[in-house]
């Protein structure tokens, strides 16, 4: 009943999200993937949407972000959005996914447990090439396909309006998403082959987008450009570039340019500091001018990085830097910013 179609929209960030049901969020380590993915899930859940956020790295990043205890392998409503919208969170784990898979398709949980004892954990997580990744992507894509009324129902509304995956970092994303086809090539027949193919068909679908989280710094931006090229070479669809932790602009263009070359008007600065009743305005002005210069240099570099990112041709969506700690209300604020930029098309 909550099924909504996100109509396509020409240009703008909406285009990067329009119609997508699976949003895969990647980015260089340290760019705030988990925060961005959670904010995106919340944004998509606004106005009564039902969204599932799937974590696949086994780090309990969402739990730590929300300040909750470690999450079990279970879809659990963790955040609510306006209009009765909700975000469920699933901390996916390969072993649990394997047991569930066995039970679901064979009704053989007991054999699964025997497998665990034998080292199936190792089997699933380490050795069977990509089996771990197949199980994780398989779990996420199953949630994308799932409809109300159970497995047999084919025409009912989708259980989730959208699924957001907090995916592995850019360094491993291509391997992670493509491992399904690697697996399908390796296990040429059999149920796991089918499972992998089914997952892959969702990942390759035109309703799946891979979004990249970056900072306005050289290396994350470089990885974003490389990652987009890699994803597109695999025949997958890139979505938006989520520029995270954007700082406010405190100076106008002329001031930035002057400050960057060390020609800030320090008489005016000292006057202002004096007017504010601060001691030693001249000395303080020299100290603050140094800080302003560092800020200006950084800001100009950020502008250059932003220009390079714009050249990639994917829409940029911004998330402001949050001062202090990240908590639910900060996440709601971030989700609001995403919606202002049209992520729901």
């Amino acid at each position: 009943m909550n099924e909504r179609e996100y109509g396509p929209r020409g240009g703008g960030p909406g285009e990067a999200f329009a119609g997508a049901r699976l949003h895969i969020v990647t980015g260089k380590g340290g760019t705030g993937k988990t925060t961005a993915a959670t904010a995106l899930a919340l944004a998509l859940a606004a106005d009564g949407g039902r969204v599932l956020l799937v974590e696949v790295e086994g780090r309990q990043g969402v739990a730590s972000l929300l300040g909750s205890a470690p999450l079990p392998y279970e879809e659990r409503v963790m955040l609510s959005a306006s209009g009765g919208g909700s975000v469920s969170v699933l901390a996916a784990d390969a072993e649990a996914a394997l047991l569930e898979y066995l039970e679901l398709f064979y009704g053989i949980r007991r054999a699964g447990q025997a497998l665990t004892k034998l080292g199936a954990v190792d089997f699933a997580t380490t050795i069977a090439p990509g089996l771990r990744d197949v199980l994780l992507t398989g779990k996420a894509t199953e949630a994308v396909r799932r409809r109300e009324g159970g497995r047999r129902s084919s025409g009912g509304p989708h259980r989730y309006d959208a699924v957001v995956m907090d995916a592995p970092p850019t360094g491993r994303i291509g391997r992670f998403l493509n491992v399904n086809s690697e697996m399908a090539g390796l296990a040429k027949v059999g149920p796991i082959h089918k499972h992998a193919e089914r997952a892959m068909s969702v990942i390759r679908s035109e309703r799946t987008r891979v979004h990249f989280v970056t900072l306005l710094e050289e290396m994350p931006a470089q990885e974003t450009r490389d990652g987009i090229a890699e994803i597109e070479a695999l025949g997958l669809r890139s979505g938006a570039v989520l520029v995270n932790m954007v700082r406010p602009t405190l100076l106008n263009e002329a001031e930035l340019a002057a400050a960057a070359v060390g020609e800030l008007d320090d008489v005016a600065l000292a006057d202002g500091l004096g007017a504010a009743g601060l001691d030693d305005p001249a000395g303080l002005s020299t100290a603050l001018a140094g800080e302003v210069r560092a800020y200006a240099l950084r800001h100009l570099l950020e502008l250059r990085v932003r220009g390079e990112l714009e050249d990639v041709g994917r829409p940029l969506v911004e998330l402001p830097r949050v001062e202090g700690g990240m908590d639910r209300s900060a996440l709601i604020g971030l989700a609001g910013r995403l919606n202002e930029q049209g992520v729901r098309g």
Partner: protein, 402 residues
């Protein structure tokens, strides 16, 4: 910029003492992804080389920029010499004044720097070729299972990094090896992955699957057959066959992967190995670092210290004495007048708060792990582009004023 010593000095990590000690043979840089491990490893290696050590750095990061900053077009699986400028200050520039040993007269030892990037497939191939006769090696190298194992597994990179480390250590061409660890799911993965891979390759399941499966398992009878048929059901018969032939070929070649993994693990615990944990001053990264410190202690692996990367120290002087709140009140009092001063004051307040958070995180680390020594490297707007940039980071690591 000064080094904003508050909070760091009492427990400063002595990077130079670590690098200068001839007993230090291996330095492992670890930490979560995105904290600047690779750059830290390269900067440590350069500093060590310029202080007279014959150094090699193994990176796992394919960033071409890093190679270029060392004057190399790209890095590959063989250690390549990094052209170093003639050491004008011949190491003295890097010496602490207290460090007066060999300050007089003795000819400076000639250091050198080599760099390589781990190619896990090639390293794995080398290991196979080294241990198998040509026919066996061919069988293994062409098995589809091996191909995926050597390129796609999350544990392989860690395993091969350790394998390469072992090779370099054995060759004795270098007296200091600096290792950058793979960007793992979590920083701890790199300690566990080799063992996990070893445990698996030697594990019960693989013995069970292998056609030469030991008698003990056959005796287990029916239960095992059920499991076997389940495995067959899940992965398909073709897969099982490839796996079986792979395992049997592999088994005869390697004898014990587990043993190999354990040997590497012992190497990491041997005297002469030191761990440097790298973190950035945010909650998640410091928590990860804290886990790592704890884990190293549990495994009795020697921690040399924690590098807190990309910090934002304040310059000493009138700026440092102006608190965040006072700066904000002052900015508010100016309202729309003096926009430049308002912007500068707000910026200052933000910087002071950021610094307070950083120091608080470091203090929390100190109170949880009082034994941990730390050093910080201030954030730079631009990435490292050349040896000068790397050298500057090395100076910061060594605690020199810049």
């Amino acid at each position: 910029m000064t080094r904003g010593a508050q909070g760091f000095d009492p427990k400063r990590m002595d990077v130079d003492a670590l690098l200068d000690d001839p007993g230090t043979r291996i330095v492992v840089c670890c930490g979560a992804g995105g904290v600047g491990k690779t750059t830290t490893a390269a900067a440590l290696a350069l500093r060590a080389a310029e202080r007279g050590r014959r150094t090699v750095v193994i990176t796992v990061d394919p960033a071409r920029r890093l190679a270029q900053s060392m004057g190399l077009a790209e890095l590959d699986n063989t250690p390549r010499p990094v052209p170093l400028p003639r050491p004008v200050t011949a190491g003295h520039g890097g010496r602490d004044t207290q460090d007066d040993e060999d300050a007089q007269g003795a000819p400076e030892p000639q250091g050198s720097l080599h760099a390589m990037m781990l190619d896990m497939k090639r390293t794995f191939d080398e290991v196979v070729r080294e241990h198998a006769d040509p026919e066996r090696a061919r069988q293994i190298l062409t098995n589809p299972f091996y191909k995926t194992l050597s390129t796609s597994f999350s544990g392989t990179q860690e395993y091969m990094a350790m394998e390469k480390l072992g090779q370099l250590r054995q060759s004795d061409e270098w007296d200091l090896i600096i290792v950058d660890t793979p960007p793992s799911r979590s920083a701890l993965d790199f300690l566990d992955a080799p063992k996990r891979l070893g445990r698996f390759l030697d594990g019960k399941l693989i013995r069970f699957l292998s056609p030469a499966g030991s008698g003990a398992f056959r005796l287990l009878g029916a239960g095992m057959n059920m499991v076997g048929s389940v495995v067959g059901k899940i992965v398909g018969a073709q897969f099982l066959n490839d796996l079986r032939s792979f395992v049997s070929a592999f088994d005869t070649v390697f004898g014990g992967f587990q043993e190999r993994a354990e040997r590497t693990y012992r190497l990491l615990r041997a005297p002469g190995t030191a761990f440097v944990v790298v973190a950035v001053p945010d909650t998640d990264s410091m928590r990860e670092a804290s886990f790592f410190v704890k884990r190293l202690a549990e495994d009795t692996m020697p921690l040399a210290g924690l590098v807190v990367n990309r910090t934002h120290p304040l310059s000493s002087g009138p700026g440092a004495d102006l608190g965040a709140e006072r700066a904000e009140t002052a900015a508010d009092s100016l309202a729309d007048a003096h926009p430049l001063a308002v912007a500068a004051l707000r910026l200052h307040a933000e910087r002071v708060r950021e610094r307070e958070r950083e120091l608080w995180l470091c203090e929390r680390m100190s109170s949880t792990h009082p034994e941990v020594r730390m050093t910080e490297v201030a954030a730079h707007a631009e990435d490292v582009h050349d040896l000068t940039g790397l050298r500057e980071i090395g100076s910061a690591l060594g605690g020199e004023e810049r």
